[in-house]
Chain length 452, copies 2
């Protein structure tokens, strides 16, 4: 079966096979459908549902589109973990001194500026108050107020934790600047439809006052470079300075990193040069603990670098989707979607399928190989568990939509000679390889992508 497939597939490359991004031309709004492919936004989002990046359901898809945390399926979770892992590596692996921290989502202590004002309430507590018949209306209102004030606050951004954690970290680095605190986590923001749950990846950078503007530029460049590293069409990621009239809070300067979605440009990341007033405010009366060991005893200035992780995932997914249009044997125009995710981010590196042959024995070979690859920390898809009647061509199309880097087909031939067919997502070319070589081949391929 596998040779049959090879014969079927090889000539394809001679046909019209042109990569067409569905994204770049529709800047302001989704353009009306020009062919049966209907709305490209919907195509995009539906693919992520069909291929288990996100869970089905209109609400869930809407949450994802808005850049808020939604329900991720198995592929989405792997992809998300890979993106977060790369973010951490880029932070803690850089030449800069950056340490990770982890702070709670909620705070039971008295309201702190910067925490926002969403609260966790225990309706039973409020109900108890509302049921007290002897209370007058005024007493009731007063009691509800008190109850709310005593309830825990939910953070509206991750940034606040690093400011609160500043003093022990500063001691740890012997009060030497610059250094940074990195954290990823959920936060909650009021939105017009209730509460939006956001996942932020946050770097809070502490530096001497005279260098803060340079550091803002440095981090803006680094972060844009990071996004583009994983992009297929890097120019869809851009950055620009925040206008004077749009500066927020104490910020003296700001930079935003944008992605051009089919439905318009949206910010993925925001960087602010925030000065020292928040640090001074949070650590009131402890000025001496905030002073660096340099001659000037300056209080550090803060540069915050905050990415919206979920919107970033959507941007990277959107950016990676290519449409190949080609004619099939009957001269019908077919459209093939390939999710060309960066090798480091692809949620599945290899799918194992079976071709013609004794099913039981082939499965055993697959299972052995699956385990070997898993142990080498290569994410592998047990394609041999799919319904066996699906033609290989159709499975390949599915794996391309899943962004699977390679498909290895184990067939009768493998049992005889140890050879298997390995198809590449990006070239659609099939190579014959010995089963004992595939692990090293994949490891080399992935680590080459890492060092690119």
């Amino acid at each position: 079966m596998s040779t049959h497939l090879v014969r079927n597939v090889r000539p394809r490359r001679a046909l019209k096979c042109q990569p067409v991004s569905i994204l770049p031309h529709a800047r302001g709004h989704c353009t009306p459908p020009t062919n049966q492919d209907s709305n490209p936004c919907r195509t995009l989002l539906q693919l992520f549902v069909d291929r288990h990046f996100i869970s089905p359901g209109e609400n869930n898809v809407e949450l994802f589109k808005r850049g808020t945390t939604c329900c991720y399926g198995p592929l989405g979770l792997n992809f998300r973990r890979n993106v977060l892992h790369q973010w951490w590596s880029s932070m803690t692996g850089s030449r800069a001194q950056i340490f990770g921290i982890n702070t709670p989502t909620s705070s039971a202590e008295a309201a702190v500026d910067g925490w926002g004002h969403l609260r966790i309430t225990e309706p039973d507590d409020l109900n108890k108050i509302l049921k007290q018949k002897e209370l007058s209306k005024e007493q009731l209102i007063h009691s509800v107020h008190i109850s709310l004030q005593n309830s825990a606050l939910l953070r509206t951004n991750v940034f606040q934790g690093a400011l609160e954690h500043f003093v022990p970290s500063f001691e740890m680095v012997n009060r030497k600047l610059p250094f940074g605190l990195a954290e990823t986590g959920r936060c909650f923001q009021p939105s017009k439809d209730g509460t939006a749950e956001i996942t932020q990846a946050s770097l809070v950078w502490f530096c001497s006052p005279r260098t803060s503007s340079q550091w803002l530029d440095h981090w803006a460049r680094q972060r844009l470079k990071w996004w583009r590293k994983f992009a297929l069409a890097p120019s869809d990621f851009s950055s620009s300075d925040v206008l004077q009239e749009e500066l927020e809070g104490p910020a003296s300067r700001g930079v935003k990193i944008f992605y051009n979605f089919p439905w318009g440009q949206e910010p993925l990341e925001v960087l602010w040069s925030r000065g020292d007033c928040e640090l001074l405010h949070i650590h009131k009366g402890m000025r001496s603990k905030l002073q660096s060991r340099d001659g000037r005893k300056s209080v550090p200035h803060v540069v915050s670098v905050t990415a919206n992780v979920d919107r970033g995932l959507l941007a990277l997914l959107s950016n990676s989707l290519l449409l190949h249009k080609r004619e099939n044997a009957k001269q019908q125009l077919q459209q093939r979607k390939v999710l060309k995710l960066h090798p480091l981010l692809a949620p599945v590196k290899v799918a194992l399928g079976i071709g013609r042959g004794a099913t039981m024995e082939l499965r055993q070979v697959c299972e052995g190989l699956l385990q070997e690859l898993k142990e080498a920390k290569i994410s592998v898809w047990p394609g041999y568990l799919e319904t066996t009647s699906t033609p290989m061509e159709q499975l390949n199309a599915k794996y391309d939509e899943m962004g699977v880097l390679f498909t290895a087909v184990i067939s009768e031939n493998t049992l005889e000679s140890g050879l298997l067919q390995v198809r590449s997502r990006d070239t659609a070319i099939k190579e014959t390889m010995h089963i004992s070589d595939i692990k090293n081949f994949l490891c080399r391929y992935i680590s080459a992508a890492e060092n690119m």
Copy 2:
């Protein structure tokens, strides 16, 4: 300086150097202090504060001790990431078919059983109601009720997400049993002091009804083995069946995994055999979508495996702390604390220090080595940035408390011959090694621990 240190340290091994766990004997409560070391619980927790595992502050330490999410410092964050990474590897790397998912912490949709009843409220909304003077007391109460009902729910456990996500995942595996969904994340539980924030690591395992009891036993064994794999004193981790009268909700059987803290035994992980009623309830009227492809068309039974991550961290930290008592040169009894964390979990694998020599040049060597190690994904501590006046012996004591596996000292000798001193946390023995060998030495050491 480094040879001088070696001379000072080597004879130590001839002295009384006996590992004494501070934990195992104090089962029910902390025993009263018998020497100047005062309360062992406090010693334990203070060490985690001093060494940047958790942030200082009585409240924060109390949160940590209770097994709720607290504010973690840089070492705690690394340690936590390592533990979570090992949990994921053990799940998705196992022979079992397990997929990760990620679901939101809150739900804006109508109250669902199992979500608990903590809510996110926007006090401004409530205040608007409370300020409406024209409302009677009854109308006011009614409006507050409605406002609460429309606010988002916060999850009380992570488990619920997997049940809600079941249908698409089941389709993905072609409705073949068994398979599992894994998720880690925060949830919120009411406690007597307000809201407790818990981090759970949850496996929800779907299997055929007749095998669910066997699977419960399987996972209980696997999970106990996992905890013990990282322990210094594995017998402090134990498991036992939940008594019939203590079964919760729909569970027909349960197993708990405990750790013996100095202040008593506490559960780290709970496993329940939950039957099919929750699945049927959540997916009402969709029975056909719940049926497996096996001949019996059975609705899967659910086994939940839920660990409290933060309490697990405290258990693993506590378990790894050893006290060495030894006499110093003046025959005074000294106590040395060594945090013998498993090599895979140790938050810092190597600290780089400098010995005698031209400071500027030595620092440059350190920075080059630091970057090389970082690129090899080895977590490294920039010890050469410490105040240079601290004696090496004192730094070693500190690194032992941090659980740092090795300390490499770069000295004048390194500039001349490329040789450096590498001290092991576990043996306190120093070896001379060429600077070009240390990366491979560490990689081999860590991967050996992985394959143990």
